[in-house]
């Protein structure tokens, strides 16, 4: 499943980049994120409590960051598993200047399995779009502090 999204954050590229790589900030910004621990500077483990329609649960997973071009782009891979299924995905995050602010663009491909797929697949894309919107709002708030 293809997931795309973009948002202009009222802050410099450097500030946005910094926030996107700060585990404490990420934990505040990612909806439902309960823990986020940096195992290495590019590997994180996380637990998330999320729900898609009737399917809710605690997901635990690993996030890895690769192909880092500072202040410009990076690749993120995700492996998450919970009682209601699993999510795997890989995506590119691009930052570019947009007037006074920074345009953040996400393009990702994800697979879901288990109950998430069987009865949630109709809703996953909508839910992801909603969660991404919440994340971008949080990012804008953090950036303007």
């Amino acid at each position: 499943m293809n997931i795309t999204g973009s948002h202009t954050v009222p802050a410099s590229r450097e500030r946005v980049w910094e926030l996107l790589h700060d585990p404490d900030a990420l934990q505040r910004m990612v909806p439902g994120c309960q823990t986020l621990d940096a195992e290495t500077p590019t590997k994180f483990s996380a637990t998330l409590s999320v729900g898609v329609g009737p399917i809710r649960g605690r997901f635990s997973g690993a996030v890895e960051i690769e192909d880092i071009a500072a202040n410009e782009s990076y690749k993120m891979t995700l492996n998450g598993q919970g009682p209601t299924g699993f999510v795997t995905g890989a995506g590119m995050i691009n930052l570019s200047e947009d007037g006074e602010g920074t345009l953040v663009e996400v393009e990702a491909d994800a697979q879901v399995g288990g109950t998430l797929a069987q009865i949630g697949s109709r809703m996953v894309q909508t839910a992801v779009r909603m969660l991404m919107g919440q994340f971008f709002d949080a990012l804008s708030r953090e950036a303007s502090v």
């Binding site: 299924g85 797929a117 069987q118 009865i119 697949s121």
Partner: protein, 787 residues
């Protein structure tokens, strides 16, 4: 003995004896069975279609309040056995399979082979605790590449579903002698690839069961939503490694099966194992999503189909390459489904030459199993769609092309098809002509022309079908005996009890078996009760499947009733001073030598020692096995009328005319209900239902929000008529009938939709004919891209 009473009950439609109880909600289904001290099981299922199981951590689940036990693959080992492999294919001479069928493992141990396969069982004091604790179970998987279609699974280097064997379970080849030469000499050759989509039976009652192992008596009792209690007992004994005499198996009220509940399901064996491990009654009731994941799917096939014909539309030969998606395990006898499905593709027509190539292939999908029709709908769909294509190509009316090709009445009884089926009896042209008359076919064609002039698209679709019933030994497998057993007992007060091994799950046996016994014994059906579905009260049984309920089970009831009547006649002869041959039995009264004795008097007095003839035992209690010798073949012609909106692709199915020959009809209202219900399921396949997997083998249609099961509002007007040729295979003259309508409806509906869209040059649309597919077919045809 003589009897002058004509049949009084067979052919009537008395009110169903079971309905009062069922309609008042007084039925007892498996989930209604409660035993003090019962604990609950929840099955943890693989979210991956294909994955190694690296580790299962159940410490958190065990710590959850109320949890008693977590069982994994490591716990299910000898003396417990997997479900024994099934018969791979009939007609062993023509098969080519490199290894036997793999056993159906009860629980995945090293590897999960489909999304939904059980990897662990959590047993807890309550249903809720079991479910909550299951969420705490951590299973680490290593996902593997997926065999996601039979075609892909047959490619070299494809991921193996079973590590030890190739994905193709069996290849079966059969041909008459002159197929190639007939094709070479033929003026017209039609080729088309068909896809028959995977669907799911969706019985109204999801599976449920409760297993109770009593350690003190070393005895297991299991109640389960199944089609045959005895079959479950047999399998259960093999799986558990105990004697069948240590098991009581009960199929209480069962809310629909349609073949999907035929045979033991892994869940029931695991409930029994959990009960044996804990010494407590263990219960489970499936959710609807669990049913979509793990109760049999069916019908998934792809077919390369060719017919050779002359310019007059007379079909001389066919060639079929038929590939079936078994899913991850062989269930019941699914490899046979592909075979029975292929050979019926000559349909109701006198096609002399045919070549069949059948592939049955494992994939990482939910196992396929039986479903109302058992392969026959897929085969009939091929020839019925091809007949319409041929008719259009040759500019012959679809009714006329069928008329020209049908097997003629004088070719019966026992017409042998090129594939090896032996059709018992029938008059196929009569069913066709009657269907044309009932539907007002010529008038419909006229209306179609008028409506087209107004830019409206009426479609008329014919399907002439034939379907097996009365499962028993077939011509392909004469050694498969498949008898049925019945016992009839008459109390001293004259009350009759029938014990049958064929238990109903909606068929109405309680009434129809009473009708059969009533006609022999001249008693009211109100004085007859029927006991079924419990190995503690019914000594033998095969079960209800493959349209065998009346043909085989009903015949056993008839034979046992006749034994009772024989004994009563001998008693009456003795009482009336006559030879038994001199006794007349009329209206429940035995007459001889000018005097008489009633049925009730015989029932009472046969227990008096001084009244019986020498050597006669007391009581009236007789049992009988009925051994069928042939299958029965019901048939019919259906006419569907649709209007299609080419702007939206919406199909309005307005009418379905059904003319059926179901042999002698025991209960016309029940049989008509079977026609409506069977046709409804066929309409579901034609227009709505679809099991969908994504590219990773994930089931996407896992709920009734995602799987379009038709509702009453989506049904057409049914117009049902019967013609009757008694089956020569059995004295009742009955034919198995429940699966025929499911076979006839899909091609009738698809032919009607394609007929409606003839002005757009639409040639085929793959089922289900959703508005999107219909609309796209119109666009593609308009753009010259022939489907």
């Amino acid at each position: 003995m003589t009897t002058s009473s004509p049949p009084r009950q067979i052919g009537q439609s008395p009110r169903r004896k079971e309905d009062d109880r069922l309609l008042r909600g007084q039925g007892a289904f498996s989930d209604d069975i409660n035993i003090p001290g019962t604990v609950w099981a929840h099955f943890v299922r693989s979210p991956h279609a294909h994955a190694r199981i690296l580790n299962i951590d159940f410490s958190a689940a065990m710590a959850h309040p109320g949890v008693l036990r977590v069982l994994t693959g490591a716990d299910v080992h000898p003396p417990y056995h997997p479900i024994p492999p099934v018969l791979a294919v009939r007609d062993a001479e023509n098969r080519d399979n490199e290894a036997g069928a793999p056993a159906f493992t009860l629980i995945a141990r090293d590897k999960a082979k489909y999304a939904g396969e059980i990897v662990a069982i959590v047993v807890a004091e309550t249903r809720e605790a079991a479910r909550d604790a299951a969420d705490l179970l951590m299973v680490r998987y290593e996902p593997l590449p997926v065999a996601n279609s039979p075609e892909q699974a047959m490619e070299p280097g494809a991921p193996r579903v079973h590590d030890e064997r190739s994905n193709e379970q069996v290849r079966w080849l059969k041909s008459t002698e002159n197929v190639s030469s007939t094709f070479e000499d033929s003026e017209i050759i039609l080729r088309h690839d068909f896809v028959n989509q995977r669907i799911h039976a969706v019985p109204m009652e999801p599976r449920a069961g409760i297993a109770h192992w009593d350690p003190a008596t070393q005895f297991l009792t299991i109640w389960a939503s199944i089609q045959g209690a005895h079959e479950l007992r047999t399998q259960m004994a093999e799986v558990l490694g105990i004697s069948p005499d240590q098991i009581r198996s009960v199929a209480p009220d069962v809310g629909g099966g349609f073949g999907a509940k035929h045979g033991g399901e892994v869940e029931y064996f695991l409930l029994a194992i959990a009960s044996m491990e804990l010494g407590l009654p263990v219960k489970w009731a499936a959710s609807r999503t669990e049913e979509f994941l793990s109760l049999s799917h069916a019908r998934g096939k792809t077919s390369e189909f060719e017919v050779a014909a002359d310019r007059d539309g007379r079909v001389k030969a066919l060639r079929l390459r038929h590939t079936t998606d078994l899913g991850a395990f062989p269930k019941g006898a699914t490899p046979i489904v592909a075979q029975t499905s292929a050979i019926i593709a000559t349909g109701v027509y006198g096609i002399r030459e045919a070549a069949f190539e059948v592939h049955s292939v494992y994939t990482n999908h939910t196992p396929e199993g039986a479903y109302r029709g058992y392969g026959r709908p897929e085969g009939i769909n091929l020839i019925e769609r091809a007949m319409d294509m041929l008719a259009r190509d040759l500019d012959i009316d679809p009714a006329e092309i069928r008329r020209r090709n049908m097997i003629q009445p004088e070719e019966f009884p026992y017409y042998r098809t090129p594939g090896g089926d032996i059709y018992d009896s029938g008059n196929y042209p009569e069913a066709l002509e009657r269907a044309l008359e009932v539907s007002g076919y010529e008038g419909l064609r006229e209306r179609q022309r008028e409506m087209r002039a107004d830019g409206k698209y009426l479609g008329i679709g014919l399907a002439s079908w034939v379907k097996t019933g009365g499962f028993g030994p077939s011509s392909l497998d004469p050694s498969s005996s498949m008898p049925e057993w019945a016992r009839v007992k008459v109390s001293p007060a004259g009350a009759v009890t029938i014990y049958t091994g064929s238990s109903p799950h909606g068929q109405g046996n309680y009434t129809t078996y009473a009708q059969v016994a009533a006609d022999t014994l001249h008693v009211s059906i109100d004085d007859i009760s029927v006991t079924h579905g419990d190995t503690a009260t019914v000594t033998y049984g095969m079960g209800t499947f493959a349209s065998r309920n009346m043909v085989v089970g009903g015949m056993a009831v008839l034979q046992a009733s006749q034994k009772i009547l024989d004994k009563m006649t001998r008693f009456a002869g003795h009482a009336l001073g006559s030879d038994p041959d001199g006794v007349d039995f009329t209206d429940s009264v035995f007459n001889a030598n000018g005097s008489s004795i009633t049925f009730r008097e015989v029932a009472a007095r046969i227990n008096q020692v001084l009244e019986r003839p020498p050597g006669m035992e007391m009581g009236l209690d007789e049992s009988s096995f009925y051994q069928p010798t042939h299958l029965t073949f019901n048939y019919g012609t259906y006419v569907a009328v649709v209007e299609v909106d080419p702007e939206t692709g919406d199909v309005d199915l307005q009418q379905l005319f059904c003319v059926d020959d179901q042999g002698v009809v025991v209960h016309p209202v029940i049989v008509e209900g079977q026609v409506h219900g069977g046709a409804a399921q066929g309409i579901g396949q034609a227009l709505y239902e679809d099991i969908v997997y994504d590219e990773n083998g994930q089931l996407l249609s896992g709920s009734l929000m995602d799987y379009a099961l038709p509702t009453a509002e989506m049904m057409p007007e049914f117009i049902s008529e019967f013609i009757e040729t008694p089956s020569p295979t059995n004295p009742l003259g009955v034919k198995g009938m429940g699966e025929g309508p499911t076979t006839g409806a899909p091609p009738a509906v698809v032919n009607a939709v394609v007929d409606a869209l003839a002005p757009f040059n639409v040639r085929d649309i793959a089922m289900p004919l959703t508005p999107e597919r219909v609309w796209r077919a119109i666009q593609d045809a308009q753009n010259g891209d022939q489907s």
